[in-house]
């Protein structure tokens, strides 16, 4: 059966990468980031999602039967 870590990993890697790129491209827009208390939350959270996604993918590649976290 499909290892669920593949879709989870792929999806969060993709969304994380999108947020990082978008965050980097809009970093100068201070008005937009007033919402998030002046933090470039897209860049910060994009990195978090990217790390999570890549970890899931690594888990899927190693194909271990043990749960990744939890």
């Amino acid at each position: 059966m499909l290892d669920l870590r593949w879709p989870i990993g792929l999806m969060f890697t993709l969304i994380g990468a999108l947020l990082v790129i978008y965050g980097a491209a809009t970093g100068a827009n201070t008005e937009m980031y007033q919402h998030s208390l002046g933090k470039n939350i897209n860049l910060i959270w994009g990195v978090v999602l990217l790390i999570f996604g890549v970890l899931m993918l690594l888990g899927a590649i190693r194909g271990k039967k043990t749960p990744p976290s939890a």
Binding site: M11, I15, L19, Y22, S36, L37, N42, W45, L49, P67
Partner: protein, 669 residues
């Protein structure tokens, strides 16, 4: 709230999620060769997946919005739904009940009741369940379509149909497995989508210490935010137990210790977590007994920490609302533009000297309670220097003395999310609604196919029956004819047909809920009637071998009847007799709806328990001990956990979880 404009990045992320969900359905389609693969995942899924799906199935949108709403209204005591309610019940399910659900090889909770008792009990449970799941998924979709309309100005009909079709496609392709997989995806989406919003909100309030001191302000003057008419001790919103120990008058929930521990902690929570097929079905899809038993335990770990994501936003919202410089209020109920226009005219045409009558007319025009001082200030501000319509409208928006607590999460998302992060949070919301629908549809199609349709076919339609045939020699002969048992392909076909039918019925229910604003109250009410007593039926069935089918059936009916009678005779203060109760006569007033609910559950459970015991003792047991092996505790060989690693034994894990839960209760005492 003004609709939000989405950017390309937001659309891309939303579409990516939908594409992945559909992709999972397609990737699983080739495994869906039998009705059991489609409806029960053929018991093949690893623990961490069923575990996360187990809580995720419950983490639908109603739960998300509802818990944040409770967090705003009642503060951290809402966490009792998790730390007193869910965790002990989940441990009990894992350690004591799962061996019978999984070990009996029943394919659904009603089917267990049939094995243990008889067809009557199954049909009562399955019928109520089938109706409820369809309504629940309809209500969930109605809320989603409304939210998308409100937040993004998307068309209600299009939102409803498109989201339903997405759900239908992936459930139809991948069956229960695809619902479970997307629930896990949704779990991560919700945690990772809302965590930054909560973090930003907490930062904005000034951290946990400041949050607590602001909540003390709230507790002493809850009327200032239209939260509650009474005043409470400063820690009423920020302590979980102290206000509760002071009795029902000293906490905003209006609940005392007994109602909390017995009503919520025992009856409601155990009833929900241990018998609700929607969640139990996830554990029953696990690959083996250990995986099935560990499913609720794996689920309990994140569940314990969920208050940080679902309740904290509500607490942050009330704290923010006390800080004038944050420019935030808990959103008021939605008011039509026409009513706003009427109220704006009233403000313009009222002289400050007669502000009192102006306040009254504004309140009538809006159809809501208003803060008299704010409206009076608005009238005099407009008299001194003419305000624009938009300014008056904003003033009116801030003057409405009623709150729509369910909108707390969307309002925080709107406040703190720039484009990009916004898409993530919106996707999390969308995911929770869609998987709420998928969960109900997959529970519905299983119960329909196995407990209603297959059972009906075998009992009625395909039953061998006498017939008279005309032989070739011209004589008549009496014979018994049995139809050929329809193969599994027929049931797989039926399961798919009913998935489509269930989705269409849900859409119909969504429109129904949209037209009758009370629909949701009615459904939750009936759900409460049915759910509270049924735990007694399962409990007695599993742990007392003398329980008879007749006892269980009439006990359950009696429990449901008790709920209805109790409800018709009691009312929560502030409510009018009718849908909220007391429609026969109000014999008992409760301080809050929550207290009324907890007591209703306690009565219904006790009635079902007592009646089932009495009727069972008065009727003969029709099942032999051999029939009940594997279904009743005392007749089933004890499971040996010794070959497993010490830390993987359900009982050991359960104890660790309970200790962790007690520690959390002490920290937030």
């Amino acid at each position: 709230m003004q609709p939000i404009q989405l950017h390309w990045i937001d659309y891309t992320i939303l579409l990516a999620y939908v594409a992945f969900v559909l992709g999972i359905g397609w990737a699983l389609a080739r495994y869906m060769k039998s009705s059991s693969a489609f409806l029960t995942s053929a018991r093949s899924i690893p623990t961490w997946v069923t575990g996360l799906a187990f809580i995720s199935a419950n983490l639908g949108a109603l739960e998300l919005a509802g818990m944040a709403a409770n967090g705003a209204q009642y503060g951290i005591a809402t966490a009792h739904f998790y730390w007193v309610g869910a965790i002990p019940a989940m441990v009990f399910l894992a350690v004591f009940m799962m061996p019978f659900y999984y070990g009996s090889k029943a394919r659904s909770a009603p089917e267990y009741l049939k094995m243990r008792f008889d067809e009557r009990v199954r049909l009562l449970n399955a019928g109520a369940w089938a109706v409820m799941t369809v309504f629940m998924s309809g209500i969930s979709m109605n809320l989603l379509a409304k939210l998308l309309h409100l937040l993004l100005n998307w068309d209600y009909n299009w939102s409803l149909w498109i989201c339903s079709v997405v759900v239908l496609l992936y459930v139809l392709k991948g069956g229960l497995t695809s619902a479970i997989y997307t629930e896990v995806l949704q779990f991560f989406m919700i945690v990772l989508g809302f965590a930054p919003v909560v973090y930003l909100g907490l930062q904005d309030v000034g951290g946990w210490t400041h949050l607590k001191s602001q909540l003390a302000v709230v507790a002493q003057h809850p009327a200032a935010l239209a939260l509650n008419d009474k005043t409470f001790a400063p820690d009423a919103w920020s302590s979980a137990w102290k206000p509760l120990l002071g009795g029902s008058a000293n906490n905003p929930m209006g609940v005392d210790l007994f109602a909390m521990l017995f009503g919520l902690g025992f009856v409601l929570s155990f009833g929900y977590w241990c018998t609700n097929f929607l969640v139990v079905q996830r554990a029953m899809a696990a690959k083996n007994m250990t995986a099935a038993r560990n499913t609720p335990l794996v689920a309990a770990i994140p569940k314990m920490l969920f208050p940080a994501i679902v309740i904290l936003p509500g607490m942050i919202a009330v704290a923010l609302a006390t800080l004038p410089d944050k420019d935030y209020r808990i959103p008021p109920p939605i008011i039509s533009e026409a009513n706003y226009a009427k109220a704006i005219d009233t403000v313009k045409n009222t002289q400050p000297s007669v502000a009192d009558s102006g306040v009254k007319s504004v309140s009538e025009a809006l159809g809501k309670k208003v803060y008299a001082d704010k409206v009076a200030a608005l009238i005099s501000a407009n008299a001194t220097s003419k305000l624009s319509d938009a300014q008056i409208k904003e003033g009116l928006y801030n003057s409405i003395a009623e709150n729509d607590y369910d909108s707390v999460i969307p309002s925080l998302v709107k406040k703190y999310c720039p484009p990009g992060l916004l898409a993530l949070a919106l996707t999390a919301l969308l995911a929770s609604f869609m998987s709420g629908m998928a969960g109900n549809i997959t529970a519905f199609n299983t119960v329909w196919t196995y407990d209603i349709y297959q059972s009906y076919r075998r009992l009625v339609l395909d039953r061998p029956r006498p017939a008279t045939i005309l032989r070739a020699d011209g004589k008549h002969e009496d014979v018994t004819v049995a139809l050929k048992d329809l193969g599994d392909e027929h049931y797989l076909w039926m399961a798919k047909v009913i998935t489509v039918v269930g989705t269409l019925l849900s859409i119909a229910c969504a429109y129904f809920a949209n037209h009758y604003s009370n629909a949701m109250n009615v459904v939750q009410l009936v759900f409460g009637f049915v759910n509270a007593p049924v735990f007694a039926t399962f409990l007695l069935g599993m742990f007392w071998k003398r329980t008879t089918g007749t006892g269980a059936f009439y006990g359950l009916l009696g429990g449901i009847g008790t709920s209805a009678i109790f409800h018709s005779l009691t009312l929560a203060s502030g409510d009018l007799p009718g849908i909220k109760g007391g429609y026969v006569e109000v014999m008992k007033w409760f301080p809050s709806e929550m207290a009324q609910n907890f007591w209703l559950a306690s009565f219904a459970f006790t009635a079902c328990l007592v009646l089932t015991v009495i009727i069972s003792l008065a009727t003969a047991q029709t099942k032999s001990d051999a029939d009940l092996k594997g279904l009743v505790y005392s007749l089933t060989p004890k499971l040996k956990d010794h070959e497993q690693h010490f830390l993987q034994r359900p009982a050991v894990l359960g104890v660790i979880l309970i200790i962790a839960c007690i520690i959390l209760n002490i920290i937030f005492w």
